[in-house]
Symmetry: C2
Subunit: 319 residues, 2 copies
Amino acid sequence: MKDVAARAGVALKTVSRVVNREAGVTPETTTRVLGAIEELGFRRNESARLLRTGKTATIGFISDNWGDREHAALGRGIEEVSRERGFLIFAGSTDSDPEREEQLALSLCARRVDGLIVVPTPGDHEYLISEIEAGITTVFALRPPSHVTADAALVDEEGAARMAVAHLAAHGHRRIGYLGGDHFGYRSGELLRGYRAAMASAGFPADEAWTSLTPRNLVDSTVTAVLCGSREHTALALRSLAAAPNARRVAVVGFGDFELADYLTPGVTVVTYDSAEIGRAAAELLFGRLDGYHGPPRRVYVKARLVQRGAAEISPARA
Amino acid sequence: MKDVAARAGVALKTVSRVVNREAGVTPETTTRVLGAIEELGFRRNESARLLRTGKTATIGFISDNWGDREHAALGRGIEEVSRERGFLIFAGSTDSDPEREEQLALSLCARRVDGLIVVPTPGDHEYLISEIEAGITTVFALRPPSHVTADAALVDEEGAARMAVAHLAAHGHRRIGYLGGDHFGYRSGELLRGYRAAMASAGFPADEAWTSLTPRNLVDSTVTAVLCGSREHTALALRSLAAAPNARRVAVVGFGDFELADYLTPGVTVVTYDSAEIGRAAAELLFGRLDGYHGPPRRVYVKARLVQRGAAEISPARA
DNA sequence: CTGAAAGCGCTTACAG
DNA sequence: CTGAAAGCGCTTACAG
């Protein structure tokens, strides 16, 4: 910029004015400066500008695993909202390691990102408190944080489970199980809570064994239908049912959509949601704060919907 | 930092020394400075440091769509290599729009990223030449750029197609088709080239109609086997074959693996590769340059491998 | 309409 | 072992 000023025979400030399209520069001067910029191939150093300004127009996105499709979709959603604002996004994975999360978050804060969107690891997030106080707006996504209050964009897992149970009930099923592996994570916990609530309010028996199904014992269990807590569980359930073709049919509703689901025979019903929507919601929460909103922490829930995949109808419960 | 210096009663430089763990500061001074840092909740502004240093320890990753699973895996691979170096990653999507690519790349350059990894859009990339000359190391991934010479990390599509044809030939197939939609993109072009070369060198007839198969006419064509050029085509082929169960069997080899492929009946063979590997390769190329390598542009090809998905064997050609 | 000075938060090069 | 000055590339606040 100094070189440009020298070349054009003007002061630094005038170059700055031209670059920023500020009013009050004669056309001749402007032309001269623009010429010098062209000749020297000058490009303003955005980082320097931002240092002076105090903003970075940057947000950090921390998730379990960038390569995971749900997290990738989240990032995409965040980007869609950020792009309109001219914000750039730093992305990083924690591999669900709290230590790695802290390390990443802190180095992002050291770069003075304007905001942080984080899919929290199981660890606690107290280390973020001082950063948040120091002005780094933080929003959580997919899971709420522990020991910190902040905005969060979540999936309505509980509603999804209720919807699944209601759907199976409408097909005559009463002996509905839940195949979900670990029940302690936040998301599977919510799902299970929804399942239990729906079973109770429908007045269905809720055998405790039905919530500890495994792909192996599913075929020999007494359930006629099962809600699977993740795409992986859905796959395992379908595979184990297919491997025992002579066994009775068990209706499957999976939580989470997957590629080529439409090709399956028999088909499968899934409760699913738009992952990018969570990212957009999180970004909206974040920008709302950056725009000056100062109220108490908010939670946005993205609703799930029911989708029938594949040609076959869900198998009805036998009388 | 100024405040910390005042609080500790030392000069700015001394604080800098402590923060950077430089040798030659008495333990007492160090303690005093550390105390002030603690009290004031001081965090070094990395951006300011980097402005002075001239580096940003940042690389930009531009792809078609962050949410796409292949590109997400690429980003993950880049991150794995970058993390060790302490580099942070800016990510952005182009939606295959050349204009958006240029806009993104330029704003990344304005932030003075140390390097750029880009999955190029169909447009030309001349606009990057001045940036590259200005010192922004650029590496391309998945597709080579046009009008620019630079390092690139690619997939060996040609080899993948050869492998697929060889596999089908080993099962007795000679009338092998190619279902790939548009033949003009770089990647499908490479695939087609490999297919043609393999057919020719095996001495198989290569009916031109076999390279313009569609999911609809596949069933009525004269091929006994087909190589599908993308996951989408594989899905379409499988669906259309399944929809005509009385039609003769056509063996399918797909390019690209997909979720739950193992569950399919009959199974499917895919030629696939590790997408993250491309990201890692691109990052290695980039860091090689940042470390001072100055040779001519290089191309790294990630090899594909053949994987049998699902229980069923590939159907043999009828005599 | 244009410019000289000070400063963003840090480091570099040099003294003491 | 410690510090005062200059500077990274830009903008802000104030003069002229």
